[in-house]
Symmetry: C2
Subunit: 286 residues, 2 copies
């Protein structure tokens, strides 16, 4: 007999698709309407397997590099960005390009290009293998150091001038700590807070929610940097936290009647996935 | 019977006239050689009363503003800087100008001029009434906020971009703390560490020395910002510290035989004053 007593479910104030992801998915859907054939996706447009599955089912082919794309077809680029160099290659190959690069990601690329032109030693706070960081590095021909911790910042030898930017989905508090650690490495430190507002808002929001609940469900792709960060923030508050991709990963034993359950989802998690999770919980505890 | 037992005197590794002060005093001395009459000093060239007395005795007149200077005379400007606006006024009045502005101070002025032109909200870490800060403010028509503490930094409302510079003689560790406090006030924070190396070296040096001695003598003008800072750093290490201008302020009762005495002096303190202090101590305890 499953739960007579309801769970108390509270949604995070800010969650789900951000502006950039919404835009990216819409651009890809429009491309699908207009030209169904010869549609190639250059890596996952966003880090959510269910969304990618949606496009694969409709005939979009996923490729890892331009060599796999036949001439004169159409490519859809990732929200995480494509470097100007790659873009040039695509045009040389006479490909049509549906560029879904998030405008905030493009802004970081432009800042990095400027810093590179002005001879700054560029430091990026980011995950070395994240697609956004890879396309950012490609934009400035790898002329940057990617760091992810204070010791890495402290190993930098003295520089004339340092420019510091961040992957858009990083933790803003850690960004400040790293910036502080760079202060005594240089005469001029130029810091651009390129963490996007949606990311910061979602992080603040889950931090608040973590203080009010017994457990937290974080819904979104396991590869999604911003979703993983939300789970980390919740865990760091000492709250039991589960990071799941879909309702199928829910386990009945995780819950007890009358539990206060917090729910948030990443910037690349579509609402229908979150709604399915909530429906399943309600089915168990109603 | 005065001291059979010697004091153990240790001099700070870095002390006394810095490059800018040396240059300033030499330029003023040269002016004295070349044109004895109609020589006016626009404020104290450096913050040391004994050095100023030296020039007054040789006929140099100290004035506070250009109105007090008769046409076609010569003015000697301060090491702390003269703003381009004041300089223009002096030339309009057909005055000859011996500009002894420290090159490091001029560098801060140039950075501030640049930041002003580029629409940065300018924050200066400094003492609001210090002559260097006043001439810096004059350079950018007062378009800057001078701060001296964390709460003042925290009161700044969010800005698009902030440029942060320092009075050349401030404490570098506090400069870093203030820079960190500015991080969440803006999208772009551009930090120029304009604290001069001599200042930083002297501060590090007195910090080391403070850990080895029973008491510290800091020799230099009471108005001298950098000298006052040296005394503060020593005091903060829990060492009994006396800030004196000349040997005449030494008190016999401060010392006990076999005491380990540390000595440092400000960037505007001439060696002859420091030597007189040491001679007096040796006279007492030899």
């Amino acid at each position: 007999m499953q739960g007579k007593n309801k769970l108390k479910i509270t949604l995070s104030k800010k969650m789900g698709f951000c502006f950039g992801v919404k835009r990216s998915v819409n651009l890809a859907k429009n491309a699908l309407k207009e030209r169904k054939d010869n549609l190639y996706m250059l890596g996952s447009i966003i880090n959510n397997p269910q969304v990618i599955e949606y496009f694969i089912k409709r005939g979009v082919k996923i490729v890892n590099n331009l060599d796999e794309v036949p001439k004169e077809s159409t490519i859809i680029t990732r929200a995480h960005g494509i470097s100007p160099i790659m873009l040039k290659k695509a045009y040389q190959k006479k490909l049509s390009v549906v560029n879904t690069t998030c405008p905030y990601v493009r802004k970081v690329q432009k800042i990095a290009e400027y810093l590179y032109k002005k001879d700054y030693f560029i430091v990026i706070y980011g995950d070395k293998k994240h697609p956004e960081v890879l396309s950012l590095l490609d934009t400035i021909q790898n002329n940057a150091l990617v760091i992810n911790s204070i010791p890495e910042a402290e190993r930098i030898t003295t520089k004339k001038k340092i420019g510091f930017v961040s992957q858009t989905t990083k933790n803003v508090y850690d960004f400040y700590k790293l910036a502080s650690a760079l202060l005594n490495r240089t005469e001029e430190l130029r810091i651009f807070n390129t963490i996007c507002k949606s990311t910061t808002e979602r992080q603040k929001s889950v931090l608040e929610l973590a203080n009010e609940v017994d457990m937290m469900l974080v819904i979104g792709g396991k590869e999604s940097a911003n979703t993983t960060r939300l789970a980390e923030i919740s865990k760091n508050q000492g709250v039991k936290t589960y990071h799941i991709e879909t309702k199928n990963q829910l386990q009945y034993k995780w819950f007890h009647s009358k539990d206060k359950v917090g729910i948030t989802s990443g910037a690349s998690t579509p609402d229908w996935i979150t709604n399915e999770v909530i429906d399943k919980l309600k089915e168990w505890y109603c």
